[in-house]
Amino acid sequence: MSWQLLVIQVFNGLVNGAFYALLSLGLAVIFGMLRIVNFAHGALYMLGAFTAYLLGERFGIGYWPALFIAPIAVAILGVVIERLLLRRLYDIAAAYNLLLTFGLTLLIQDGVRLLYGISGQPYAGPPQLAGATNLGFTFFPTYRLFVIGMSILLCGTTWFLIERTRIGAIVRACTENPTVTRAFGIDVSLWVTAVFGFGAALAGIAGVMAAPIYSVDPLMGADLIVTTFAVVVIGGLGSILGSVVTGFMVGVLVAIGSAIYPPIANTLIFILMALVLLLRPSGLFGLQEAR
């Protein structure tokens, strides 16, 4: 393999990694706060893409406004889900959360399928980013470069928000010890809802960003979520930095793997996951505690 192809593959991998990172980051944020593995995350990602499609189709709203509106819409849905449904399950076994979010996934997917059919919907990217950029050694679609940049920006901001600001301090406090935090006069339940909404918004924005690249269909999230869970396992549950770094890393590894031996591309992630589970069960960046 020439070094040129290698570099190209690294960029390709970063694009896929951008989506893995955004989705697993959302999962990590939610898991950190709520101790819930949100199976409906893929469905929320799909809803983000569909919202963008509908905004364009029904109201003629283009990509840029959709990039803000769709995540907010998905976040509102997330808040509703948390307040109406998830809230009632915090005190019972974690398996019920899994069942609930998995059931929601099926409901959302089949609902969209009923309304819009199984085949995909067309969605054009922003005209400003059409075409390709000369990277010196190859022409790479400009929009894909934007996806990489945007994902890094979003992940960085989220990390900064949680690790370096007062908001983050409160969120971390709610996670560490809800009872004591409550004693300081902080409304923990409000923060739980907000965090779930934020995680949902991350899935929503990833969906909008994916719409111009991938087929916009009801199962687009189902395809991606399996890989994302593998990324979360490799990175370590609940670790913010871990999920982001692992997301990009897995994307690049798979891209290089698929250039050397295409059939292995999809399997490679799970080989990695198996290895990590064997050697370091809490994940590459996970805390050494069994949850």
Partner: protein, 406 residues
């Protein structure tokens, strides 16, 4: 459903001279298809509607059959094991006389073997694998509409003859894709074309094809061939445009194209792409007339599979009429060698030797949106491959029945 079945049973119980020669008193056509999954848009509920329309039209035209033909659909969920169970159940408990549609190669192969074991009838319209009339051919199985040989041979030959001499191809790494790639490569080489690089297998299912599109960019072939189908194909074409391959004069040849794939991206994304189809809705005035009726009943334009179901149901019922019984042996004898033409099948013959239904097929080019007269007006016909050249020649057939008759 239960009520319908009871009603059908009651109807069939009514004594009638003709009914006594029909098993269970009536003719039961079962579509074993994908009702909810990835292929449901091109088959499933639309196929059921087409089948019902065919049965109604036939009963209207042939009073002796009035009230005797029923069409039901069963979901195989695209899984071969479920298809096997359901096929057994349909023949055994539901008294189904013939299974049709199918739409997925793995399920079709499973159904073909069940049908043979039970000595019933299977007329496949939706699955592509050419094994059904080659290695896995049997006395009870017929293959209608399209198959992989026809797709690959048609598109490969037509594009290479039009000057597309250098190719680079990708294919999904499962039975359908491997089979299609092999056939397409053979057709291209036979027509004087060559591969710029060995074809690449891609994972299935897959969302990201950028590796292969970048490879195509550096190889600069005249034609980029994709054997992907459904959502995978949509992703390939989306990214083909994103990487600007069309602007670099790399043409697009598609192994298996359905109108729903075009709708998923908008036809401009596919503009200039070439594919082979057994039928499309505005092929000629007969096709359009039928489409208007279907559209009125179903609310959407038909896929070629759905049109094929109508045609196959009619052909099957006509064979029963000629045979004067629905006994499988006699119906098979009535089908074998039968020549016919209808709104779907032009110049068709049901080959006795391998049970392949040969018919004229068409190479189409996707036209730009601005040339479309209405929604769904996607194709321009660029070539007709006559029935005798469109399918595997009997001399190359791997079907035991065909070899025995040589």
């Amino acid at each position: 459903m239960q009520n319908l079945r009871i009603a059908a049973a009651l109807l069939c119980a009514a004594p009638a001279a003709f009914a006594q020669e029909m098993s269970g008193g009536g003719i039961k056509i079962g579509l074993l298809t994908d009702m909810n999954g990835v292929y449901s848009a091109i088959s499933g509920p639309g196929s059921l509607k087409a089948g019902e329309m065919a049965a109604e039209d036939f009963m209207k035209a042939n009073k002796a059959f009035a009230g005797k033909v029923t069409v039901t659909a069963v979901d195989h969920q695209n899984k071969a094991d479920i298809a096997t169970n359901k096929a057994n159940e349909m023949f055994e408990r539901m008294d189904i006389d013939v299974i049709m549609d199918t739409v997925n190669s793995a399920t079709a192969l499973a159904i073909a073997s069940v049908t043979q074991q039970r000595n019933k009838l299977f007329i496949n319209t939706g699955a592509g694998t050419s094994q059904l009339t080659n290695e896995n051919c049997n006395h009870n199985t017929f293959h209608y509409a399209y198959d992989n040989y026809m797709l690959a041979n048609g598109t490969g030959t037509a594009v290479a003859k039009q000057g597309g001499k250098t190719w680079y191809m990708i294919y999904p790494n499962y039975a359908f894709g491997q089979n299609l790639e092999r056939q397409m490569r053979a057709a291209v080489e036979k027509a004087g074309g060559k591969l710029a690089a060995p074809s690449d297998a891609t994972p299935f299912p897959n969302t990201d094809f950028s590796t292969f599109l970048l490879k195509a960019q550096s190889l600069k072939p005249q034609v980029f061939g994709t054997m992907q189908a459904g959502a995978d194909l949509v992703n390939v074409v989306k990214q083909y445009n994103e990487f600007g391959l069309k602007k670099q004069n790399i043409g697009l040849a598609i192994g298996l194209l359905f109108e729903s794939d075009v709708a998923a991206l908008g036809q401009d994304a596919y503009e200039g792409a070439i594919a082979t189809v057994p039928w499309f809705w505005n092929l000629d005035s007969k096709a359009t007339d039928w489409t208007r009726k279907f559209e009125k009943a179903f609310g959407k334009k038909p896929s070629f599979d759905q049109a094929a179901v109508y045609s196959a149901v009619t052909t099957y019922l006509e064979a029963i009429k000629r045979a004067k019984t629905d006994d499988p042996e006699k119906v098979i004898a009535a089908l074998e060698g039968h020549k016919f033409s209808d709104f779907f099948a032009h110049d068709a013959t049901i080959r006795k030797e391998d049970h392949r239904v040969i018919l004229d097929v068409y190479q189409v080019k996707v036209k730009p949106k601005k040339d479309a007269k209405e929604d769904g007006d996607y194709y321009t016909k660029i070539n007709t491959t006559p029935a005798k050249d469109a399918f595997t020649p009997l001399s190359e057939s791997k079907c035991k029945m065909a070899q025995a008759s040589r």
